[in-house]
Symmetry: C2
Subunit: 321 residues, 2 copies
Amino acid sequence: MSIFITGVAGFIGCRLARLFLERGDSVAGFDNFCRGSRHNMKGVLEHPNFSFSLIDLADLGAYRRALCELHGRDPVTEIWHLAANSDIPAGVTDPNVDFRDTFLTTFNSLLLMQELGIDTIAFASSSAIYGDFGDQSLTEDIGPLFPVSNYGAMKLASEASISAALESHLKRAYVFRFPNVVGVPATHGVIQDFMLKLKATPGNLDVLGDGTQQKSYLHADELIDAMLFIRTHAHEKMNYFNIGADDDGVTVKFIAQAVVDRVAPGATITFGHGNKGWVGDVPKFRYSIQKLANLGWRPRLGSAVTIRKAVDEIARQEYGQ
Amino acid sequence: MSIFITGVAGFIGCRLARLFLERGDSVAGFDNFCRGSRHNMKGVLEHPNFSFSLIDLADLGAYRRALCELHGRDPVTEIWHLAANSDIPAGVTDPNVDFRDTFLTTFNSLLLMQELGIDTIAFASSSAIYGDFGDQSLTEDIGPLFPVSNYGAMKLASEASISAALESHLKRAYVFRFPNVVGVPATHGVIQDFMLKLKATPGNLDVLGDGTQQKSYLHADELIDAMLFIRTHAHEKMNYFNIGADDDGVTVKFIAQAVVDRVAPGATITFGHGNKGWVGDVPKFRYSIQKLANLGWRPRLGSAVTIRKAVDEIARQEYGQ
């Protein structure tokens, strides 16, 4: 009996695999190395209770063959579906990216779960399904749902497919609506972007937008803790929760300053105009985590501490110091 | 300059084409004859301002070639995207049906609109995006959105993709959330199903479920009237409206009796158990049309009159009398 993780070589997948293995589970995982890498799975790949296959889940034939083989050898009891494009701007430029990597991977997973009789899914959804509600607090039941990025659209499409599957073959679903998550191994995101820019032009950090854009951030450690908490304590057929920090967040300006302070003290920061960094971005949002708090989980770190911690970790990753 | 209709040979598409032609527009349409037919386009196909191509919109290459050719000859100003699977149970049995016919047709349409610079879409969405809210009134802004059929899921996925496209290349969208629509040319639905059953066993009508399932119904004439009203009077970037009858609807029992009275007087009606006809069906829902009423449109017929009118029309279609 094993837990199966899609996107196992990614930012969250590799950490989750490590945790499951540590608590004694058998874990199998697939990844196409689109965002993930073998490097991320250090300490996991070598584990005797872990098996890995390099598979593109958008290729249904290859996915079916590999999962059937795995399931025949060691029955899969639940799927943690984390595989997705995680670069939102890339999906704005080319809608095919999120269609393939974010939605088709879910659709194919559900098809195969039906074929193989695997009835439990845990799914990495996103706050991006909500679109832009301005100052309104984003509770799980808010509407209408008009995402502003293809990433958000394909996460919403995935939730909708899971919801429909619960009416036919699925027994239980856990839908985790991720906030902005930071930590290592970082594969993308604002902190890493700033460091890459500073490597190119060490004396100056050029920031898109005016820096007033404000978001809350959660550390990957806390995200995974919350996911496991929900998996243990929520018992509905459809268990859907926002996971996020407990505050209104920090500005882009704050993050830029934290990065400069850590890796390029004294560098100047130049801001652009407007408070939207890129098409499909939501300039400000207030993320309600009341439902999760009612279940009994709250984050320990605020956004500011989280950002400073992640900046330090990513600096070690990027600069080795 | 022409209006382009996908699914033009279907139940609503052919009627819409006829109306546009009557008011003097040029109209082009594609259909794959999955549900639609040449027969439905009687009086439209022959019109000098109408052009038709037999195209499967899920085949992006074929769709691109045909739409480019059309757009080069006579620029398309807006797309009325009606192509979709309309047989909800078929999509429950095989999720690929709605993936291909309901979602991929939308996704491909949006890709081509971006390529060709066509910036206005009118889209046939559905009350099925809402899922099962029990007795709660379904307003447009209700949440969470957990559809119970793949059809509903892929309509929601389509709305989400349109919403994301509005952030990049689309200028305006009209999203019509269809109720249960009846009328001719009927291609599927409860009235036609009952008549087909009565043709097979004239003395008895066997009804799935206990007949207490209650829904509101709108006549196709009124639906199209509402769509054109919204197209003229709504001026937001995203214009989304429930379209439906103004009452709590009629029961399956009422419809069964109306069909028997019209085509097989004296036949007995046998009911099954439970109030769900099939997986993915919503047993009862209250559809709010307040937003549309505020815009200035209300249906003239109630569900009961609508059903009797449609039963008569479909009887003529099926029995020629």
